[in-house]
């Protein structure tokens, strides 16, 4: 709050002649015990995550800070977040030739296969580097980056030292004769290394410990080519020996290859993407499991869904080994055609399949872990989704979705066979008047997961589900929504929610009451467990 007032004062008075912007977010939660869903009492009664970001810019100069408070952390957030203080601060200079940032910073090389530091407040994830980051642009079209630092680990810094260098060249900008052509060509390469001190890691042989590589590196090469509506992107990365808790302290080298072919024109786009991953978990502390301290990032190879039942069994990137393929087609059917009708229609078809690797285990800690054979491993996740969106009249828009998902519970450590889920969604948006709009959403999921109930499994997601939601928007300020998810066919649970929101300018207030099912929240293939809860939630966001 003090930071807000300071920032507001600085802005109001034009202190230092610069520009101050920022945002504040507070999320609070109250939950009480509910044996029907497995929710337990919260001894503190009220939990809260809060943060305020302040950014000051003045010409080429910028500086920022972020205050965070977890008093105490919301359910599902690691208890190591507990505390409050200045979590993030930096000073930067940015000119045409040079950018320099000292302090905390986020950076990405290519698509992130060897380095991506980022934060996601909803996942409770922040792997910012604290150190120095330099970007040099010696000529137009060429960017060279170099960085060194340690990663944020809750309220401390991880032990590992991360160093990296990356270069990217836009060939079309470099070669004047190509500038007028339809060609797009960008090439790049990067290298990242981490250093960690020696420590005692036991082996599978009593009385012996592991000799560890203190420096582990990863390198990548990438290219992005385009011609007219066509585009082709590819990146290959390789990682040296890196025994960590994530790979059972095995010494096998890692690699990942990804390629995307796409085509787009007005009203139509299509793409196909393939990826193969082998042992590519790259963290700056070898003993830390979980989602913190990742140096690299493997983007999801499946579509990011928004409808509730399509995210019940989410895909999570398996950085230890997987191979996948995704196809995506979007077609905007013109209006006044047979298919498009009076207002046109959006068709979106997406399909993805992700399998494990076909491997043979050759040993545990201290060995190379496993040998990769030529075939396909078990199916981890598969889906096919068709989405149709069409205006029925000036006031009413209908969206229909059908999705088939196959989910392997072994991904989450549950010993079971594949779940096959069929999901249907109908979403109707009705603009009743200039001030009032209603949205109705109905979802159904049929699943063969109910067979695990008989086997003694207690995953609250098991069974078939049906859901209804009504959302009423009043002007641009108020909204009220009511929803209920109900399990049947051996499933258990009735998860109702009511929420009210108010928006004024850049400020939004929201309050809700209801039940939350225990499950997984995944964003971009990165997941965190969400525990069951039953109670009130409050949220405030504002920016200035």
């Amino acid at each position: 709050m003090a930071a807000m007032m300071l920032a507001a004062a600085a802005q109001g008075q034009g202190i230092l002649g610069g520009n101050v912007t920022g945002n504040v977010q507070m999320d609070a939660q109250m939950s009480r015990a509910d044996s029907t869903i497995g929710a337990t009492d919260v001894p503190e009664k009220l939990l809260m995550n809060a943060r305020a970001d302040i950014l000051y810019t003045n010409g080429d100069f910028s500086a920022g800070l972020r205050f965070e408070a977890y008093q105490n952390p919301l359910l599902g957030f690691d208890s190591q977040w507990q505390g409050q203080g200045l979590a993030h601060y930096f000073v930067g200079y940015n000119s045409k030739l040079l950018s320099v940032t000292v302090g905390h910073f986020y950076e990405q090389f290519g698509s992130g296969l060897i380095l991506r530091t980022y934060e996601d407040r909803y996942l409770g994830l922040d792997n910012a580097l604290f150190g120095i980051n330099v970007a040099l642009r010696p000529v137009e079209g060429v960017t060279i980056k170099a960085l060194a630092g340690k990663q944020r680990y809750y309220w401390e810094l991880g032990d590992g030292l991360v160093r990296g260098v990356d270069a990217e060249a836009n060939i079309v900008q470099l070669v004047p004769s190509l500038r007028e052509s339809k060609l797009r060509a960008i090439v790049g390469a990067g290298f990242v290394s981490k250093y960690e001190d020696e420590e005692l890691i036991g082996s599978e042989t009593p009385g012996y410990r592991l000799k560890l590589p203190l420096n582990s590196g990863a390198a990548s090469v990438r290219a992005e080519l385009g011609w007219g509506g066509w585009s082709l992107q590819g990146e290959y990365a390789r990682k040296g020996q890196d025994p960590t808790v994530m790979n059972g302290y095995t010494y096998k080298e890692g690699q990942v290859m990804t390629a995307t072919l796409g085509y787009s024109q007005r009203g139509f786009s299509a793409s196909v993407q393939g990826r193969r991953v082998e042992n590519m978990s790259f963290k700056s502390m070898r003993t830390v499991a979980g989602q913190q301290l990742y140096i690299n990032y493997l983007p999801a190879i499946t579509r990011q869904h928004t409808y509730a039942f399509m995210t019940i069994y989410p895909y999570a990137t398996n950085d230890m080994g997987e191979q996948g393929l995704q196809g995506d087609v979007m077609w905007k059917v013109k209006k006044d055609t047979w298919l498009g009708g009076k207002y046109g229609m959006d068709i979106h078809v997406n399909s993805a399949i992700v399998c494990g690797l076909d491997t043979t285990v050759i040993g545990g800690a201290g060995s190379d872990g496993y040998k990769v054979n030529g075939g396909m491993g078990p199916l981890l996740f598969g889906e096919a989704t068709v989405e149709l969106a069409r205006k029925l009249s000036k006031e009413v828009k209908l969206t229909l979705v059908y999705s088939y998902q196959a989910f392997n519970p072994a991904v989450e450590g549950e010993p079971s066979d594949l779940f096959h889920n069929n999901i249907v969604v109908a979403d109707v948006a009705w603009k009743m008047s200039k001030k009032h709009a209603l949205r109705f959403e109905a979802e159904w999921m049929g699943s063969d997961s109910h067979r695990d109930v008989a086997a003694g499994h207690t995953d609250p997601r098991l069974g078939d589900w049906v859901m209804g939601l009504v959302e009423w928007n009043i002007g641009s300020k108020w909204f009220v929504s009511v929803s209920d998810q109900l399990a049947y066919n051996d499933g258990k649970g009735n998860y109702y929610n009511v929420s009210v929101g108010y928006t004024s300018g850049a400020t939004r207030l929201q309050a809700g009451y209801g039940k939350q099912r225990r499950g997984m929240l995944c964003i971009g293939g990165v997941c965190r467990e969400v525990p069951a809860s039953n109670g009130l939630t409050f949220s405030l966001t504002t920016s200035f």
Partner: protein
């Protein structure tokens, strides 16, 4: 431009060669070394491990812990707690549960548990998955002089376990402390998920069977100055609990009453 690119490629090449270690398979194992003399007198590392029958990675941690027993012997005391808040602690089908309601407060102290997870002397650091890094934490604990030197003896007549504990303050300690007594049992065979397979008669060791005192222990007025001593006698009626005495142990913990950090630990066989 050409010079910059060549220079950059050279820099990346140098980094690639210098900033990457490669260890040949023949050189990956080195002797743990040392011996009992390197540890602090009376130091015992207490490992509180949370596990569950439906936890597929837990057997991997079990194997690591059994290896550590070879290295540290009686200086390592392990208690395997079947999680009551994580559904992976639930038993298979109709098998009897190993969950104890008393441990709920322990789990709540550590927050949401992803199994397996272990803590040494009830410290903050979580050891997860295969727990190969547990050895480093155990050694650190064994180098630390414990505040309390403990001995414990236990006998069982079939229905009651009699436990005698003796404690001595190794150095001045002013804060209140508690005494916690636990009964564990080895060689319990019941179904366990192991990786992607299910093992019907998996052998479970160090399993927590009973919390004799309150979960956070009972008040233990040992005094506050170096050399202060206190003895305790506790009788515990097993009630409906069935244990095999020759496979069972009693674990005694003296902990800080406020932080619950372990100040001294001892384990004995039940006779």
């Amino acid at each position: 431009m050409k010079k910059i690119l060549i220079g950059l490629m050279g820099l990346m090449g140098i980094m690639g060669l210098v900033c990457c270690d490669k260890i040949d398979p023949a050189e990956r194992l080195i002797e743990s070394g040392g011996g009992d003399s390197q540890w602090a007198e009376g130091a015992v590392a207490y490992v509180e491990k949370f596990t569950g029958p439906l936890c597929s990675n837990c057997p991997m941690a079990d194997r690591t812990i059994e290896n550590l027993h070879h290295t540290y012997g009686e200086r390592l005391v392990v208690v395997s707690v079947t999680s009551i808040t994580n559904s992976q602690g639930n038993p298979y089908g109709s098998e009897p549960t190993m969950q104890l309601e008393a441990t709920r407060v322990w789990e709540q102290r550590y927050g949401a548990l992803a199994l397996p997870v272990a803590y040494i002397n009830r410290g903050d650091k979580a050891y997860t998955s295969s727990m190969n890094d547990l050895g480093g934490g155990i050694e650190e604990a064994l180098r630390t002089v414990p505040a309390v030197k403990l001995t414990v003896e236990a006998t069982c007549d079939g229905s009651t376990v009699d436990i005698n504990t003796s404690a001595e303050l190794v150095f001045d300690y002013a804060d209140p402390v508690t005494l916690t007594l636990l009964i564990t049992e080895d060689s319990l065979a019941y179904t366990q998920c192991d990786g992607t397979s299910v093992v019907p008669d998996y052998m479970h060791n160090h399993m927590l069977r009973a919390v004799v005192t309150d979960p956070w222990g009972k008040s233990f007025g040992i005094g506050s100055t170096e050399g202060s001593r206190k003895n305790d006698h506790t009788s515990y009626n097993l009630g409906a609990l069935t244990i095999v005495p020759e496979n069972s142990h009693v674990v005694a913990l003296v902990c800080d009453a406020a932080t619950h950090r372990v100040l001294g630990c001892a384990q004995c066989d039940v006779k």
